[in-house]
Amino acid sequence: MTITQNDTAGVTFGRRQCVIRIGNVSARASWRAIIVVAALLVGAFAIAVVAVGLGKYTVAPADVLGVLTGSNTSFDRVVVLEWRMPRMLMALLIGSALGISGAIFQALTRNALGSPDIIGVTSGAYTGALIVIAGIGGGYYAVAAGALIGGLVTAVLVYALSYRNGLAGFRLIVVGIAVSAVVNSVNQWIIIKIDFHTAVTASVWQQGTLSGQSWSQALPMTVCLVVMAAFLVAMGPQLPVLQMGDDAAGALGVRPDRARLAYLVVGVGLVALACAAAGPISFVALAAPQIARRLTASPGVGLVPSAVMGAVLLLVSDVIAQQVFSGSELPVGAVTVSLGGAYLIYLLISQARQR
């Protein structure tokens, strides 16, 4: 991996750029973005080290570091590695999946509010997952496949219903809100049909929760996420090109319709992965790309900063969900919906101020 200063290219980008090169793959990034991403990663690690020690059996951060380096072999090792680490890891993975998905949708719709949790894709994925759980039964892959189908059907439905002489941003969002109202009704109906004990579980899951994660769930999730990330890397930087509009994208060698479809499938796929593992956690996909964009001061939403931001957001939300009430924990979705909803309100106010 090499990082080179891009001053030799003779092109001014308005801010200091550099090129990161790993083998045949290279990417251009601003120094600010790199610093922000690095700072977020360090922050996420620090939070994870502190948070993994919290709970009924507390482990000091220094002892956690000892477990990670292998020098601490006491009971702390079981607590940290077996009990709490999978959940922490899932928070980071699911958060980054949601962050990337949100960035993809926001780039495709060219609107901060076009994220999958607002336009009903997350609810639709949850419907697919619920149908598999309540009707067919199956493991993680079956539930994820159901969520993928549910999410895709919803996304196509929203797209088709809002298409009329092109896509107007606000029409897409209002149609999405309407479709998610229908889809949420279906979800609620399925939950009512299930008996009470399952209903509490399904209802906790309906908010999105990370409790009860183990290594057996973390592994398939990681595999799928790596595959999708590799696919995104292979697609190259087509997303920023798409944001320039179809004509410019065509002139730059990107087939807009094909690229859009590929990104749509990946975007829904990432939501489906998250949904099958933890339920429809909302508003991380909305907030992460926007916060990342503001921190990196970049003109569009970037995939990598959004992923890291999403991971940090979900990790922090999960720590809050576990610690805010002593004794019992909240589903993390109840925290993200409150924090993310508040952020959405702020976004609406600031958009109104700007115009």
Binding site: L161, S162, V174, A178, A181, K193, G341, L344, I345, R353
Partner: protein, 338 residues
């Protein structure tokens, strides 16, 4: 030949009669149809000359409270939706979309979970406070800044605020499994298994709200012209807005306290009846008085029969029917306007 104005007037009266007949029909159907169908003659006997025999108790103990509640809640939702659309000059709104029902529900959850209130007479006041709180919040967020206030902006503010309130309410409820189980069906906007006491408790508030609608009805037409023109025509915009605010608080709060959050009835009804009434808000309100309860009753009946012997709560059926209306409305507005 009659002049067109009189002709329209006569059509409106005929249409209103048809709407009332429709309402009566749905009432009878609501008493007769369900998991156990009851013949109309038995319904008649149960209403006029009740004896505790046969299916009469089903009508008397289950269906009459349910139908009365649906009538009141439907009326409240229809009138509040019409008022919101008229005063806010926003065709994309009702009390559910703007998060007003969520606000009422959140405060009720607080009352039940933290203050241990269980009777409707105690927590209904919290429903009013919550409805008012949410409405003021949506107003502040949706109207802030220099940008023009568009219906979509207000709608998004309402959706965001509703989502936060639902999230907080859910978190509170989850910590109390008893409350969770009690309110699980209330969540989806179900009308069944509620004693007549609930209907009796919300009735006076719905009545006051309806009277306020009568009071402001005339000035709504002037308000619709815009603030400046309304003032120059001698309309008192502030008075209309404040009275409407009180009316919506009472109506949406009472509806939510009675049946839980039910969406889209208030959205659909004004658009559906405008084809027959024209733009006159007084007539729209009059039609809504008959059409909204009929719509909620019909939704409730559909919910009873569609997955027999289980039941689909009315709020789920109305979302099914109403969300397509929202989609149709936003498509109709055209690509250039947002």
């Amino acid at each position: 030949m009659e002049p067109p104005a009189q002709l329209t007037q006569r059509n409106r009266v005929v249409g209103l009669r048809i709407a009332v007949a429709l309402l009566a029909l749905t009432c009878v159907a609501s008493l007769a149809i369900g998991t156990e169908n009851v013949s109309v003659s038995t319904v008649w006997q149960a209403v006029t000359d009740y004896h505790d025999i046969g299916d009469q108790w089903i009508v008397h103990d289950l269906r009459i409270p349910r139908t009365v509640l649906a009538l009141l809640v439907g009326l409240a939702l229809g009138l509040s939706g019409t008022l919101i659309q008229a005063v806010g000059r926003n065709p994309l709104a009702d009390s559910e979309i703007l998060g007003i029902n969520s606000g009422a529900a959140l405060f009720v959850v607080f009352a039940i979970a933290f203050l241990g209130m269980t009777g409707i007479w105690t927590y209904i006041w919290f429903a009013f406070a919550g409805a008012l709180f949410a409405m003021l919040l949506v107003y502040l967020v949706g109207m802030t800044g220099r940008a023009t206030v568009t219906p979509v902006r207000v709608l998004l503010a309402g959706v965001a605020i509703g989502a936060v309130m639902d999230g907080v309410g859910y978190a509170v409820r989850l910590r109390n499994p008893q409350a969770f189980n009690n309110m699980r069906f209330w969540d989806a906007g179900a009308l069944d298994a509620r004693p007549l006491e609930v209907a009796a408790a919300i009735a006076p508030f719905v009545a006051v709200g309806a009277v306020l609608c009568l009071v402001v009805g005339r000035s709504l037409n002037v308000t619709a012209l815009g603030d400046d023109l309304a003032k120059s025509m001698g309309g008192n915009v502030a008075r209309t807005q404040i009275l409407s605010l009180i009316a919506v608080t009472l109506l949406a709060g009472a509806a939510t306290a009675g049946a839980g959050p039910i969406g889209f009835v208030g959205l659909m009804v004004p658009h559906a009846v405008r084809r027959f009434t024209g733009p006159d808000w007084r007539w729209i309100l009059a039609y809504a008085t008959a059409v909204a309860p009929a719509l909620l009753l019909a939704a409730d009946i559909v919910g009873r029969v569609i997955i027999r012997p289980a039941e689909l709560p009315a709020g789920i059926v109305t979302a099914f029917l109403g969300a397509p209306v929202l989609i149709w409305l936003i498509r109709k507005r055209g690509a250039d306007r947002s």
